[in-house]
Symmetry: C2
Subunit: 109 residues, 2 copies
């Protein structure tokens, strides 16, 4: 026990939940919002602006990167992060389908 039983769900359900889990943390939402504003973002800026330890920020960035939501390029001594367009659009589309399939409040309990 204590382990999500992924094998009983579809690949789509597992994928969607993995992507959502990567975003479902206030620090990671803040990081993404910061990237979305300036299109690009250097790790050090986040450490200053968010008020979390450098190790913590680095860990959150890694999670977003592992999930494929952002990508990082080494730029001299620092690392430049930005949105991974492919995953971003995929997730946007999946969520659109998911939320859009709600038929409204008819015959609800």
């Amino acid at each position: 026990m204590g382990l999500t039983r992924s094998e009983i769900f579809t690949d789509e359900q597992n994928q969607l939940s993995t992507l959502l889990k990567a975003i479902a943390h206030p620090a990671r939402i803040a990081i993404l919002q910061r990237i979305l504003i300036s299109n690009t973002c250097i790790c050090g800026d986040l450490v200053e602006e968010l008020g979390l330890a450098q190790a913590t920020i680095s860990q959150h960035l890694k999670e977003l990167k592992t999930a494929g939501i952002i990508q990082g390029t080494i730029e001299g001594v620092s690392v430049c992060y930005c949105i991974n367009p492919k995953t971003w659009k995929l997730l946007e589309k999946r969520l659109g389908t998911f939320f859009g399939s709600y038929k409204g409040e008819t015959s609800c309990c």
Copy 2:
């Protein structure tokens, strides 16, 4: 440590992450998809269809309910669950804004 530092984030960031966390599990995605299809859903059906123990399904339903994503009404001996329209639309809108604020792949790293 080991505790999310909510106090350093905005209410919006905390709220969004809470809602996303509620959805970010394959079982809960499956539950929501099932509700979305038939507009309504009885707990017992989920137990049969998903292949998780009754206690586990009940716990997932509680999490979705606590987050305000679904609502349940007692219907005789069983409980009828459906989408909470208000939260659903709020989350849909917030996610739309979030994902829509991506400006595209220009000058990415």
